[in-house]
């Protein structure tokens, strides 16, 4: 068990790396299988110190539903930002907003920050040192508490469920 842990600190990450390698090369030849396996073993080994805890996705179905929501929101967000960009009369009201977060897992925090950056007029700018607040830059803010509610309900809640933290 301990030797398995030493060689494969993140077995699921290793599997994903192998699959991505094979897909990138569009083949399942022996050579690429070996090379992909080597990469799958070496990359998690060398990057282990950046994420020492194993990555667990505990609710796959929630993840799929969440991904669909995010893709839809990216579409809506992009159209909104495009409109702000193209309308010469638009005067967006940018603001920094501190969003309280309560996620225990580093991976979940990363996922939340990334999602916030991709969706409606918000870019995550900084995580506070105590990991309780995410500083978010909003392109066009009209209601701060509604925005915080939205982020918490739409993104934080499902992420919490996926990683069970």
């Amino acid at each position: 068990m301990s030797s398995m842990k030493r060689w494969l600190p993140h077995p699921d990450v290793s599997a994903v790396l192998l699959i991505v390698w094979l897909l990138l090369n569009h083949t399942v030849s022996i050579g690429h299988l070996l090379l992909g396996t080597a990469l799958g073993i070496l990359i998690p080994k060398f990057t282990k110190r950046f994420f020492p805890e194993p990555v667990f996705i505990k609710r796959g179905t929630v993840l799929i539903r969440f991904a669909a929501t995010v893709v839809w929101d990216i579409l809506v967000a992009s159209i909104a930002v495009a409109r702000l960009t193209l309308d010469p009369r638009s005067r967006p009201a940018p603001r920094f907003v501190r969003v309280p977060v309560s996620l225990a897992d580093d991976f979940a925090l990363t996922a939340l920050a990334g999602t916030v950056s991709l969706t409606p007029g918000t870019v995550s700018a900084q995580l506070s040192a105590d990991r309780r607040h995410l500083l978010v830059h909003v392109l066009d803010l009209d209601d701060e508490s509604a925005l915080i509610q939205d982020i918490k309900q739409r993104y934080e809640a499902p992420i919490k469920e996926i990683f069970q933290c």
Binding site: V20, L23, L24, H26, I74, L75, A77, S78, V81, A82, L84, T85, L86, P92, A93, P94, R95, F96, R98, A113, G114, T115, V116, S117, L118, T119, G121, V123, S124, A125, Q126, S128, A129, H133, L135, H137, L139
Partner: protein, 107 residues
């Protein structure tokens, strides 16, 4: 006929990429400028890649997983770079049209 669909996807993607770049020029400070490239341009590239995928599919090349992978990588890396640029700008106290947040509260 179906080529039409992939042509529309490519045109839409290209227009979004253009609009994202216009946003980069038009908005007043570094923080607002980040919004165009992270969201709109990413979507534009997604559109271009989907169009290419669809076209390849029609050519009988099968489903092109590479395009899907590129889309995946894009959506993973765009927010990370945006976050880092914003963080660096905050750290250097770059000017903002809306006033910067308290330094002590954040670091």
């Amino acid at each position: 006929m179906f080529e039409f669909v992939s042509a529309i996807l490519i045109l839409l993607g290209a227009s979004f990429a253009l609009i994202g770049s216009i946003g980069l020029v038009r908005f007043p400070d570094i923080y607002t400028r980040l919004h165009g490239p992270t969201k709109v341009t990413t979507l534009g590239l997604g559109g271009l890649l989907l169009g290419s995928m669809f076209y390849m599919f029609l050519q009988g090349e099968g489903v092109a997983v590479r395009e899907l992978l590129i889309i995946g990588f894009l959506f993973l890396t765009a927010p990370v770079s945006a976050h880092l640029v914003a963080k660096a700008a905050l750290h250097r106290r770059c000017q903002s049209v809306c006033g910067l947040p308290d330094r002590d509260a954040e670091s």
